[in-house]
């Protein structure tokens, strides 16, 4: 008797679940709109990447719709939060493709979440423009996968070129324990030889650690001529403070991971004199007028700060470029994914926030060395260094 009740109840529960899933309201049903998917780490530890990217994408969509959309089709952005979790990203990507049937996807913000959905977009043949920096995304080349973030190769090249000019030969390296840190460490080790630089000590630190004096002591004992810290906030700010506390006098280089006003606020006066490569966005005003990107940067900054009333971040620029590149590829494609992909691959000389994009069947990142410039923090501000 009781077992029968048990079975009945189980059947009921399973039915309820099916209804619950089916019932999830999908978004507005405008028929002819071009639907574009967005996957960003809006909450969770990498929200400093996802949030500006989401805002930038929505800003571009609004701007295009205000001008009547593309070929008469309005754009509709369908954005999900991945929280930086690969499983959730795979589920969200599938939801975008099969439930919302989007024409293309922008994002995700991190390398692991991007790699997780590469097989999905390749199988379903949906163009993907990732905002993550990892080399593995576009090497080896994947036909349906593009990326707008400057790769770490260029950032490390910019640092090493600057070091060569200061004839710094021996350096110490400190990298954060996550995907960003790992890919940075790979590039730092790989390109050291060609630039005649020797890494005398390599250490790592946790993103949330409270004190890195131990690592810095170990590096100092190897007598390097400079230290490179590769990480994203808040770790590098703690390192800047520790360096000041231990009054280590040799120059400190940071990565483009801290190229945002937040770093200045966190590090305070300990940031004085730090070198780092960054997209041109942080030093827009100091750019010579001849610089192609200046007008694009000024427009992006004004629009963003007017709409959202908060300082712009370089990471948001990746999604801004991705959306604009996609808008260009959508023209004349009347919603055919194959055409969009081919159009993307042919884009040349597109001046974006992160640099000038020249895509080709062999290069789905399309950025040259002009993507990065070296800056030094002087009196709480970014000072553009002459190349």
């Amino acid at each position: 008797m009781k077992a029968a009740l048990n079975v009945l109840l189980k059947g009921l529960v399973i039915l309820v679940l099916a209804l619950l899933i089916g019932g999830i309201p999908s978004l507005s049903w405008s028929q002819n709109a071009y639907k574009i998917g967005g996957l960003f780490a809006i909450t969770g530890p990498s929200s400093f990447l996802g949030e500006p990217e989401k805002k930038s994408m929505e800003m571009v969509v609004e701007e295009i719709n205000a001008k009547g959309g593309i070929d008469g089709h309005l754009l509709e952005a369908v954005i999900y939060d991945t929280e930086g979790d690969p499983t959730k990203t795979v589920l969200a990507a599938n939801k975008l493709i099969s439930k919302d049937n989007v024409l293309a996807i922008i994002g995700p913000s991190l390398t692991p979440t991007t790699l997780a959905i590469v097989p999905v977009v390749e199988k379903e043949q949906v163009p993907l423009i990732s905002c993550a920096a990892g080399i593995k995304i576009t090497e080896p080349i994947k036909p349906w996968v593009f990326k707008t973030a400057q790769s770490d190769v260029l950032a490390v090249a910019a640092i090493y070129q600057h070091m060569q000019k200061q004839n710094i030969k021996k350096i110490g390296v400190l990298t954060v324990e996550n995907a960003f840190g790992e890919s940075g460490k790979e590039q730092l080790l790989a390109q050291a030889g060609p630039y005649g630089i020797e890494i005398v000590q390599a250490e790592s630190f946790g993103g949330k650690d409270t004190d890195m004096t131990a690592q810095l002591t170990k590096i100092r004992s190897a007598q390097p001529q400079a230290i490179v810290c590769w990480g994203t906030n808040p770790g590098p700010a703690v390192i800047a403070k520790n360096v000041q506390q231990m009054n280590i006098k040799i120059p400190l280089y940071q990565s483009h991971g801290v190229a945002s006003p937040k770093f200045l606020e966190l590090a305070g006066d300990a940031a004085e004199g730090i070198f780092l490569p960054t997209g041109k966005i942080l030093v827009t005003q100091q750019l010579p007028d001849t610089d192609l990107q200046k007008s694009v940067l000024v427009k992006y900054i004004e629009q963003y700060e007017k709409l959202y009333k908060m300082p712009v971040s370089g990471f948001g620029g990746y999604a801004y470029d991705a959306m604009n590149l996609l808008a260009k590829a959508l023209q004349g494609s009347d919603g055919n994914k194959e055409k969009i992909r081919d159009a993307l691959e042919k884009i040349k000389g597109f001046v974006g926030v992160s640099g000038t994009f020249n895509f080709s069947p062999r290069d789905h990142n399309g950025l040259g060395s002009d993507a990065f410039v070296m800056v030094q923090i002087q009196k709480g501000n970014w000072k553009l260094l002459s190349p």
Binding site: T43, S204, A214, M246, N247
Partner: protein
């Protein structure tokens, strides 16, 4: 030699932080026999509210300090009153899940109030770092050590000399027996939660100037604090301080002499060692299993 000293100082700085958190665990365990997985969040709340009050609203240091401790103690009170007391059959697994749920809830609220970015705070005193034989020590860590010792002595007096202190300890041993003797055990547990939350917030206030405080700093600190409490012997206040210091120094030495990748692993490896070798910890009293 200079390196060793610097590792020691860095170990002492981190050790003092772990000690303060471990004290919160031990304090609550002594009074209620519970382990609160949301203890790390009290530290986070202490750090962030201190930054808002002291740096944001420019309140004087002591006022901001007391107000922060009061606010977080109130949160601890609410947690006990709404979540812990209402449980009919307080089975350990149920309580573990409730405190984990509480830690996620507090993290969510902190994310809304303070946003997702990290915040920093100036140190209490403007003194320059102290230089001893080439190694530098932050004055802030001396602040922490001083406060930690003050708390421990305060606790000893509280448990040894005051009636409420002894009553609280009686409640931990057997709530029913204590209430039979007229001790309002419900209020004792409430007080214990408030005190341990307050202690967590003191920890948070002290470490705000040293580290960057963000809404999700609580979890790892909580776990490390627990490892320290276990190392020292759950239930003994001096054990918490001793365990915290040991853990901080062990971590610094591991980073210094082996590799910094192992840093977090050290804390949990020590925890496992202690659990296998001496579950009652280095200073804790060995629990006799009466049959």
């Amino acid at each position: 030699m200079q390196e060793f000293l610097q590792y020691l100082f860095s170990g002492v700085t981190n050790g003092a932080i772990y000690a303060v958190i471990a004290l919160g665990f031990t304090m609550l365990y002594n009074a209620t026999g519970l382990i609160n997985f949301a203890q790390g969040e009290f530290v986070m709340l202490g750090a962030l509210s201190m930054i808002t009050l002291w740096k944001g609203l420019q309140l004087p240091l002591p006022a901001a300090f007391l107000l922060t401790v009061a606010v977080v103690a109130l949160v601890g009170l609410l947690l006990e009153r709404l979540a812990i007391r209402t449980v009919r059959k307080p089975h350990p697994i149920v309580l573990v899940i409730i405190t984990i749920g509480a830690s996620i809830l507090l993290r969510g609220i902190a994310m809304l109030v303070w946003g997702k970015d990290a915040h920093s705070a100036p140190s209490f005193s403007r003194l320059a770092p102290i230089e001893i034989a080439g190694a530098t020590l932050l004055p802030q860590s001396l602040w922490i050590l001083g406060v930690v010792l003050a708390i421990v002595i305060g606790l000893q007096i509280f448990h040894r000399k005051t009636m409420t202190g002894k009553a609280m300890e009686a409640c931990a041993i057997s709530k029913r027996a204590a209430s039979l003797l007229g001790i309002p055990s419900e209020r004792m547990v409430l007080l214990a939660f408030a005190l341990s939350a307050g202690m967590g917030s003191i920890g948070g206030v002290l470490i705000a100037p040293i580290t960057m405080s963000s809404y999700d700093m609580g979890m790892m600190l909580g776990l490390k604090g627990f490892c320290a409490a276990m190392l020292g012997g759950l239930g003994s206040s001096w054990g918490a301080v001793f365990g915290g210091m040991m853990l901080g120094i062990l971590e610094a030495m591991a980073v210094g002499f082996f590799s910094s990748d192992l840093r977090d692993a050290v804390a949990f490896f020590v925890l496992l060692l202690i659990l296998y070798a001496r579950p009652s910890g280095l200073l804790g009293v060995k629990a006799v299993q009466r049959f």
